[in-house]
């Protein structure tokens, strides 16, 4: 029996299973931390415990400084999609629907999901590394010892700025995407701007705009909350900061995709 136990402990299957259990436990732990800190943040927001000065600083960081990269990513994705779609549709006689297709695609999906990815890589990573550095240099401990709620001070302005600024970023990025789609369709498929924009509004309804806005609010808050949580629970030194940042980016990317899927199921099925 002991020999068998020894063999099992050394076997690759045992190692893989124990590693899987560790990964699963870590996943559940992170999920719990996000839920707990998210609930605490929401409680502070509902109580009106908001530092307005810090909120403006974070809004500037979230919305303004991320704009160049977000517009670039959404714009270039729109160019890629339009270059593939416009040519084929014009060939098949569906040129009049290119604008409609591009607008639906950008407003419903490309604008918000690509902005989510851009914001994650730029702002999410920066939030996570900032809070992780504060954690490993005992600044978070100092906040607690000074009897200040670290969630109110660190999370509330960051998460709220994500929820406030993300819709603006997504709207602007979507507008840029639709315009670049028109330019690309004209260049690659010879589709006139008039034909493109005449159909652009045909498939778009208030529901699409509403869902787009709601989705971007949720994406913004989720990215900020996840990034702050990963940073807040960092441990160790420089390595811990790096690990927390990686974790924040991975979790934020996954959350954007999962939330997008949930929205698609809830509103478009």
């Amino acid at each position: 029996m002991i020999v068998l136990q020894k063999y099992l402990k050394q076997s690759a299957t045992y190692k893989i299973f124990s590693h899987l259990l560790v990964v699963l436990a870590g996943f559940l732990e992170t999920l719990g931390q996000i839920a707990q800190l998210g609930f605490h943040t929401l409680k502070c927001v509902l109580k009106g415990e908001i530092d307005r000065k810090e909120l403006i600083t974070q809004c500037d960081r979230f919305g303004v400084s991320s704009l160049p990269i977000t517009l670039s990513i959404v714009g270039m994705t729109s160019i890629i999609v339009a270059s593939q779609v416009a040519n084929e549709m014009v060939k098949q006689g569906g040129g009049n629907f290119v604008g409609m297709l591009m607008t639906i695609l950008i407003v419903r999906e490309v604008g918000s999901i690509m902005s989510g990815f851009a914001i994650t890589s730029m702002i999410g990573s920066s939030l996570a590394s900032e809070l992780a550095t504060m954690r490993v240099t005992e600044q978070v401990d100092a906040i607690k010892v000074l009897d200040v709620d670290p969630v109110r001070y660190l999370f509330v302005p960051r998460v709220l700025s994500g929820a406030i600024m993300m819709p603006f970023v997504v709207i602007l990025a979507s507008v840029v995407g639709v315009i670049l789609g028109a330019v690309t369709s004209d260049m690659f498929a010879g589709l006139s701007y008039r034909a493109y924009f005449d159909s652009a509004g045909l498939g778009l309804f208030m529901k699409d705009l509403g869902v787009c806005l709601l989705k971007s609010i949720v994406f913004g808050a989720a990215i900020a909350l996840i990034s702050c949580t990963c940073g807040y629970h960092a441990s160790g030194g420089a390595k811990g900061v790096g690990l927390a940042t990686t974790k924040a980016v991975v979790w934020s990317f996954i959350s954007v995709v999962v939330l997008d899927m949930v929205f698609a199921i809830l509103f478009f099925f």
Binding site: Q139, I143, L146, V148, D149
Partner: protein
């Protein structure tokens, strides 16, 4: 009595770091906690101020604030010196609306003067030397007039003159605000110049309790090994 620790126990995973220790610190008294690295000194401070929960025992403190001076100062690097010192006055729930901006500026200026750093309000922590950062963290700690101050290796990594300066502040604060203070250190000058009493930790337990003079007498194998910094003795360094 300002701080009383009773039968405190703390374990991390399977390792018991603090194993049933008890001690008291009175108002206006400075207690030094000494011991080799890894003996649980800083953990005791974190347990007292509630940064980590203890498994068993009790920590009783008098009503009022607990302040802590961290080993590496732990100043907020995104805030300037003035905002660092005024942090609790601006952000703490019960103090947030108590002071006007000009009152806060005056308090900050007073605290900076107390630690000999007048006029550096607009500087950021990265622009200060290690000793200056430590003094700013002193000013931040005392801004709420605490009745308990915890110092985590306040003189570690400082040059001898800066160390002396910090030790003088600890003594002068003891007289000025009559706070109960605990200094975690392994620097002999800090022990002899600041402490009224000393406890030595080893393997999570108190192995010596007495005055700095009694520590220097080296009457027990533990005190002898600590004072002479010898590798031979009952205390083994952890690998």
């Amino acid at each position: 009595m300002s701080i009383e620790v009773k039968n405190l126990v703390k374990s991390f995973d399977d390792k018991t770091v603090i194993n049933d220790i008890s001690f008291k610190v009175d108002d206006g008294e400075v207690l030094a906690i000494v011991g080799f690295s890894g003996s649980g000194k800083s953990t005791v401070l974190k347990l007292i101020c509630g940064l980590i929960p203890y498994d068993n025992g009790e920590v009783i403190t008098s009503e009022g604030d607990i302040a802590m001076v961290f080993q590496y100062s732990a100043l907020f690097d995104s805030l300037d010196v003035a905002d660092n010192i005024a942090f609790a006055l601006k952000e703490r729930k019960d103090l947030r609306n108590k002071y006007r901006d000009d009152e806060i500026r005056k308090i900050v200026s007073e605290k900076l003067e107390l630690v000999g750093l007048k006029g550096i309000e607009s500087k950021f922590p990265s622009e200060l030397s290690g000793g200056m950062q430590k003094r700013v963290s002193f000013a931040r700690a005392i801004v709420t007039k605490p009745n308990t101050i915890l110092y985590d290796e306040p003189t570690a990594g400082l040059d001898p003159m800066s160390s002396t300066l910090i030790e003088d502040y600890i003594v002068s604060l003891k007289h000025e605000i009559n706070a109960a203070s605990i200094v975690v250190t392994h620097q002999m000058s800090t022990i002899t110049r600041t402490a009224d009493r000393v406890i030595m930790l080893y393997d999570g337990k108190i192995v010596f309790e007495g005055t700095p003079a009694e520590l220097l007498k080296q009457e027990t194998p533990y005190t002898k090994q600590f004072v002479t910094a010898s590798l031979e003795g009952p205390m083994q360094m952890q690998a």
